[in-house]
Amino acid sequence: MLAMRAVLEFENATKEYSSLFGRRHLRALDSFSLSVSAGEIFGFLGPNGAGKTTAIHLAMGFMRPTHGSGQLLGKPFGVPSAHRRVGFLPENVALYPRGAEELVRFYGALNGLSGQALRQRAGKVLNIVGLQDRSKGNVSKFSRGMLQGIGLAQALVNDPELLILDEPTSALDPASRVAVRELLLKMRAAGKTIFLSSHLLSEIELVCDRVAILHRGKLVRVGKTADLLETTERTEIVARGIALNAFSQTTAQDGVVRFVVSSGDQRAALERVWSLGGEVVSVTPERRSLEEIFLELTGNVKAAASGGQK
């Protein structure tokens, strides 16, 4: 099997911010290595201050790594010609105050588009983000969600191979979020790669093929979303034809009994169901939510629990 081509790679990238006279150093990113393959939707997670935006800004060449390096579409970070094949949506998007279509065309022109192709592409992306009716409206009068839509449109105008999105749905209403999610899935189907930084873990869980979790500048977990969510430690068994008290902590509904056992006890539990004359309906490794994994890895379990109790 051929290895997937990496479109975005960080190689031991470290970024330190120094105070004015270099007395204090803040290490925002610490020996960070990551490879994003072509055609995947990659989720990039981390609490505030984890270094996500720093990593993205390194990839876009806005800043230089203190140590290490990286590549964007096969070119070292900071080579602008690679940006022609990249769409970037910054966090808290800020745009020049002018008509939506005119603005999208301005950004398209910066990427070398011109003439009829640019006009068509601008119209198409405004249609994609649902703002075709507001194409003449000045973006300074747009709501935050609409601005986010224009930000997405300017990122898509050059039909990018790689889309880097920093909190793309943070200001969107639920319907717009669904639309963006569908757009991302369509883009993946078209062979595009999406690098998605978001706080909305449920969304990451829904669309991302792989996920990386960053904490205090270090990569603490990376892997396929399905693998991360699936734990082999506990298994849910659903059985029919056994008594509710046959196992501890069971729940029953419509004659079907559910209970969870540790993986080590799975075999014994199944044999017990059969020995009791019951029928096993399903055996499923228990899934955890990305939120649980995220909180566990970033050390916020207690905080989350105490927050929940309040």
């Binding site: 505030n48 935006t53 800004h57 876009m60 910066l110 990427n111 070398g112």
Partner: protein, 233 residues
Amino acid sequence: MLIAINFVREQRWPILVLLLWVLLLAILGLTTSEARNGEDLLFVFKQVALYVVAFSVFFGSSAIYNDRRSRRILSVLSKDVKRSEYLSGLVLGITITSVIYSFALGLTGSWTLGEAGFRVGHIWFLMLCLVAACALAGTVALMFSTFLNPFIAAGATAAAMGIPAALSYGLGVSQLAYLIPVYPLAATVLKSSFNVPEKAFWFPILLAIAETLAFLLLSARIFSYVDIAVSVE
């Protein structure tokens, strides 16, 4: 060019304020007797002309800062735009701004001062001096603003332009003023008069153009090492 036009559009209100001064000169031209008040008109003309140099320093020192503070620079530099192209766009924008102003002032000056007996051809030469001075002053300010706060950058620019001129006076070495020839160019405008036959001295203009390019290259070099965005997390 796109960045230059964008810059001019962004600065449309300061440009309009500048053009109000030109309007003032036009009103003075309408309401005074040129033959009697030619000297007064020339005084106002010189004063109004020099405002644009100060504005160019202001534009140059604040352009990058404004784009960074608003985070709009991220959307621009995330495209196929080199940092040197971005800076070139800003310098071109500052120059276009000064051309717009100088053209309006040149037209008004040709009409008002021309009627009072001032040689019209020389007014346009003075406008060229003004544009060259603005381009250089704006580029020096832009160069300082790549690594300094805009207020300090504006101060540093004033010092860079003023110290050679002060030294040339203090030491009596006139060539020193041409180190950064904004002052000699401004002085050409300031010293113009009805009485003295004026000669077009092109050297400072050519030097200013060459230095504008040199400072632009220096700015691009410095800016290529600067981290654009600070962490927002």
